[in-house]
């Protein structure tokens, strides 16, 4: 980047600054650069900034000087008079006219704020220039006021241009500070500021570039404009070459959320495999969330399944028949499902209890009860809630990808076939393993482990054949596969996320930076 061959990419402003520095062996300040180049201060500062980054120019010195300048009020005082000066003039001229003035009379003129007047009168009295006469009248003693004289001289000096504070004698410095703008008092004539003055030198690299600088760089143009194109005048110019390796400016753009985009690919994958989407309610009854799935109301299987209950209303109006009676029957004694049932007093009221949907399978249960087409394949990507402490591996609500397959050809081997398909389609896995598993609503149940090309061996999902205790009471007589996929870990690795809560982060920067890495 710094080699002579790259002088083409220097901006015309940079070239002018380089030339100016090259002519003078001494370091030049910003101000001097402005004088030597005919550039505006902002252009010099821009060009110096770029040159510093490119290490063609280095900072030679940095000195901070305190300057005094006039404020708008100071300019008024300089042109007219400062409060003590005005008071003295007014009192003297009215004395010549034979009248004497009181403080109230001065205030009545509305010339200055009462507080300012009192301060000025205080100073003049202290100096013995003014004294109070009978009836509160102000009288000039004829003495000269050092303050008025000094202020007048300072106003005139600073009016010519700002000056370093230390160019004034110490007593004047104190006066300037006294009459300078401060926090809480902005109505003062002087302003005292620190100015940092930087001086720059060419670096060795910069020196080497000097002989290679383009002539007439000032006539180069950087931007093709509609005008240049319209009249063809672009032919008269040469175009400056850019440093194309600089990082481009960032853009604020519209984009899908990366995790949602991941779930989008899942849903497109599933529809392409012939699955139809199901949707359900966030709030469900215990009936559809658990009872219909043959999870007994009393059993420890329910304890592994802690749910959020709804505060108001606590219960649904009713559970549709004949499903309530049929499910109740299957829990009690198996009904017509060929099962012995759980053998307990099923509580129809508890079935109505409202919960936040704790498993996506509730959506499948509802589909089974709606006389679904056979053969049929369904899926849902359902938001679920678990009563868990939220931490790096537990989110308050999360998505479950689950579904069902209904058909007379469904059996344990077609179940394994479907899982094998999921392994290839969802995780590009060539190696898979099946393990016995337990879910309250399936038998046989199986866990699918796959060897993901990036993640290695992982559990991809769980599945099984719905128990007859689930299907028969809901009116389905063909075998049904129930399946669920655990894709969050895959999503997290793909998005480079360690904490599950970050899938739903409220940090916009994190959302903008999130991207799929494979």
């Amino acid at each position: 980047m710094n080699s002579p061959s790259n002088t083409d990419s220097l901006h015309p402003l940079e070239i002018q600054v380089l030339r100016a520095l090259g002519k003078d062996p001494k370091p030049l300040t910003d101000l001097q650069l402005v004088q030597h180049t005919d550039l505006a201060a902002s252009q010099v500062s821009m060009a110096v900034g770029w040159l510093l980054t490119k290490q063609l120019v280095s900072l030679a010195s940095e000195t901070t000087t305190t300057y005094v300048s006039l404020t708008a009020i100071g300019t008024q005082f300089q042109q007219a008079a400062s409060p003590p000066e005005w008071i003295l003039q007014t009192v003297r001229s009215s004395a010549q006219e034979g009248t004497s003035l009181t403080v109230k009379d001065l205030q009545g003129t509305g010339q200055f704020q009462p507080a300012e007047l009192s301060r000025a009168i205080g100073i003049l009295k202290k100096e013995g220039v003014l004294q109070l006469g009978a009836g509160g009248t102000l009288e000039a003693t004829g003495q000269i006021s050092a303050t008025v004289e000094a202020l007048r001289s300072l106003l005139n000096q600073v009016h010519k241009g700002s000056r370093p504070l230390d160019s004034f004698p110490p007593d004047h410095q104190a006066l300037l500070r006294q009459y300078a703008v401060k926090r809480g008092n902005t109505q003062e004539p002087f302003r005292i500021d620190d100015h940092t003055e930087r001086a720059y030198l060419l670096t060795d690299e910069g020196q080497k570039l000097l002989p290679h600088l383009r002539e007439g760089a000032a006539q180069e143009i950087s931007q093709v404009t509609p005008e240049l194109l319209k009249d063809g005048s672009w032919r008269n110019f040469s175009f400056r070459k850019y440093s194309i390796n600089l990082r481009p400016p960032r853009l604020a753009v519209g984009r899908r959320h990366s995790y949602r985009e991941f779930l989008d690919t899942v849903k497109y994958k599933l529809t392409s495999m012939g699955f139809q989407e199901m949707r359900g309610e966030l709030i469900e009854t215990e009936f559809w969330d658990m009872d219909a799935l043959f999870m007994p109301q009393f059993h420890p299987a329910r304890a592994i399944h802690d749910v959020y209950f709804v505060k108001n209303p606590k219960k649904a109006k009713a559970i549709p028949e004949p499903f309530l009676s049929q499910v109740a029957q299957v829990h009690r004694d198996g009904g017509t499902s060929g099962s012995k049932g759980w053998k307990y007093q099923y509580d129809c009221e508890r079935a109505k209890r409202l919960v936040l949907r704790s498993q996506g399978t509730a959506v499948s249960a509802r589909t089974l009860a709606q006389n679904p087409p056979i053969p049929g394949k369904f899926f849902s990507i359902a938001r679920c809630f678990r009563y868990d402490n939220v931490d790096a591996t537990h989110a308050t609500d999360f998505f479950q990808v689950e579904g069902i397959v209904l058909g007379s050809d469904i059996n344990f081997r077609t179940l394994l076939g479907l899982l094998k398909l999921f392994a290839t389609e969802m995780a590009q896995a060539k190696e898979i393993r099946f393990f016995p598993a337990y879910f309250p609503f399936t038998e046989p149940s199986v866990e699918l482990h796959v060897r993901h090309p990036k993640l290695g061996w992982m559990e991809l999902g769980g599945a099984g054949l719905f128990r007859s205790e689930v299907t028969i009471p809901l009116g389905v007589t063909v075998p049904v596969i129930a399946w669920g996929l655990g894709l969050d870990r895959m999503a997290m690795v793909a998005l480079g996320i360690q904490d599950i809560r970050d899938l739903f982060t409220s940090d916009l920067e994190a959302v903008r930076n999130m991207r799929r890495q494979f």
Binding site: G254, Q276, P313, S337, W342, I410, F412, L508
Partner: protein, 564 residues
């Protein structure tokens, strides 16, 4: 799902062959177990057991028994389940127990000198059974006693809370049951099980010595089993007789596996139970039942033949008799999880190994499709992304503070929402009735992300609706906000207008007031005469509440209501 510790040495001894760590891992599918952690120094293996219906597998003895059975292609029946005639010992149940804790089962274990390993495993099993299977001792609790000091018959009866004193485990001095309930850690932990009982359950022997105060605590004299003890009494009490008996059967089988001789105890009830008034325990509750071979083969998708099914089930521990078309099977007495023929089918598959079944692709043709709601959502999302909006994806649970107070809608019609009863954290106490608070949360947390901020989310919200069957409705909503120094009504209106144009959804704005927005800069969005949402500049008080220093405007409307 219980997780237990087993030890390689102990396991090898029980399974009857040297088991390497990889053997143990490889055999886990037979018990639906998963090795969670292995310590090679101590030989400890942490195993998670999945099957909540197989409490017999929640202990090293049960795991070894099941695996051993598969490896040895069958199981030798335990003789003590077929003892006939009156038992040598008896527990007399007293009238009135039926209202408190009706059932008890017991057995005597002789000749196994308790080792440290055996005792640790006994305690672990006792805890897992009482905790997960017995619902924290409510339905089942278990006690072990030094048999030699007990004078039979034992009485299972009731006492007044301050009628008797004995020394409970863990304490030095004698206490009344009432004192135990108010002072002893176990009394505090489990006392609620006996809430409302005027008289409390107690086991005592013929010499008046207290065995225990079930389900709370054993007595220290009789109920503190020590290393080297050779003879034990095992007792289970509870509220469900089958569960009580099953727990005892499991315990008895475990001790038998360690070399003990098990002797029965007769339980005499003054009231009727499903097994009569005198129940000899341990008790085999299972019966032989016919199952259809055809159903098993159909479910597994393979013609296995009756012989190989019989072979598999025998190996898994069943007692099997086959004829040509039907199989008659009986589970071992420490299991009672057979409800349906599919349960048998799964055991056949497990014994044969899932990998021995070759997968077949389902052949049926079905048409895949997205729901109408999803398709509409996707169109809206595509449009807003094209407009330059960043999609946001939020949790649906949020705090009342965020959803109501910060939105300046407390005590208004807009503040109706679905709240959780058993709140775990106030941060997640409600379901969002609107998405805008979620977007404002992003704005509030992201003042350093470079501007402009154009954010949107399409997603589910929950609306309280007492007329609806479920007391609420889940519906899809679209919300968008613009936060930048020049954000105002006109800018966000342009985006809404463009969105509605491309969706071909005619809409109107009606000037209204809404506490979340500045008066005179808020409109109700109406489609075909129905209110569907709001658009406006957020009220500075709303922005202040969120600590947002950037002018912000936004809109939100319900998708379903807006469609023509």
């Amino acid at each position: 799902m219980p997780t237990i510790s087993i030890f390689q040495e102990d396991f090898s001894h029980l399974v009857g062959r040297r088991a390497s760590m990889s053997d143990i891992e490889q055999w886990m599918p037979y018990v639906k177990g998963e090795v969670k952690d292995v310590s090679r120094d101590t030989g400890e293996v942490r195993v998670e057991l999945q099957d909540t219906n197989r409490p017999d597998l929640w202990c090293v003895e049960g795991i070894a028994r099941q695996i051993g059975s598969v490896l040895n292609k069958g199981m030798t029946p335990y003789p003590f389940f077929s003892h006939k005639g009156p038992a040598k010992r008896r527990i007399q149940v007293v009238q009135g127990m039926e209202a408190v804790r009706p059932y008890v089962a017991a057995c005597v274990s002789l000749g196994y000198a308790m080792t440290q390993e055996g005792l640790d495993q006994c305690i672990q099993t006792q805890e897992k059974l009482a905790d997960a299977f017995g619902r924290k001792r409510e339905t089942v609790s278990i006690g072990l006693y030094r048999f030699s000091s007990i004078v039979f018959p034992v009485t299972y009866g009731l006492v007044k809370p301050d009628e008797i004193r004995f020394t409970p485990l863990g304490f030095e001095e004698k206490m009344t049951p009432q004192e135990i309930l108010t002072v002893h850690p176990k009394g505090l932990e489990y006392g609620s099980i006996l809430a409302g009982c005027e008289r409390l359950p107690l086991l005592w022997d013929s010499d008046g010595q207290v065995l225990s105060f079930p389900p709370i605590i054993n007595s220290r004299e009789l109920g503190e089993v020590q290393l080297g003890d050779t003879d034990l009494l095992v007792e289970v009490t509870g509220t469900d007789l089958s569960m009580v008996v099953l727990a005892l059967n499991i315990f008895a089988s475990n001790l038998a596996d360690r070399g003990a001789a098990i002797e029965s105890v007769d339980i005499a009830y003054p009231y009727e139970t499903e097994f009569g008034t005198t129940v000899k325990t341990p008790l085999d509750m299972n019966h032989s039942q016919h199952i259809s071979l055809d159903a098993i083969e159909k479910a597994l998708g393979m013609s296995l033949g009756s012989e190989s099914i019989q072979e598999a089930l025998t190996a898994y521990g069943y007692q099997v008799k086959t004829t040509r078309q039907s199989v008659s099977v009986k589970l071992p007495p420490f299991r009672n999880d057979l409800m349906h023929v599919m349960d048998v089918a799964e055991d056949v598959a497990i014994t044969r190994g899932y990998d021995s079944f070759s997968p077949i692709m389902p052949q049926s043709f079905t048409v895949g499709s997205l729901s109408k709601e999803e398709q509409t959502s996707d169109r809206i999302r595509d449009l807003l992304v094209g407009f330059g909006f960043q999609e946001i994806f939020s949790n649906i649970m949020a705090s009342h503070q965020e959803l109501v107070e910060r939105m300046r809608i407390a005590d208004t019609e807009h503040a109706r929402l679905v709240e959780v009863d058993n709140v775990m954290s106030q941060t997640y106490a409600c379901l969002r009735p609107s998405i805008l608070p979620c977007l404002l949360r992003v704005e509030a947390l992201s003042p350093r992300a470079f501007y402009p901020h154009l954010l949107f989310e399409v997603g589910e919200i929950a609306q309280l609706d007492l007329e609806a069957d479920l007391g609420s409705r889940t519906t899809l909503s679209i919300a968008a906000i613009s936060a930048n120094p020049g954000a105002n009504f006109s800018e966000i209106h342009s985006y809404l207008d463009l969105l509605m144009y491309y969706m071909a959804w005619p809409y109107e704005l009606e000037a209204v007031t809404h506490p979340s927005f500045l008066e005179g800069r808020v409109g109700q969005i109406r489609c075909h005469g129905h209110a569907v949402g709001y658009i406006g500049e957020f009220h500075p008080e709303v922005l202040e509440a969120w600590q947002i220093n950037m002018p912000t405007s936004g809109f939100e409307f319900e998708i379903r209501k807006s469609e023509p």
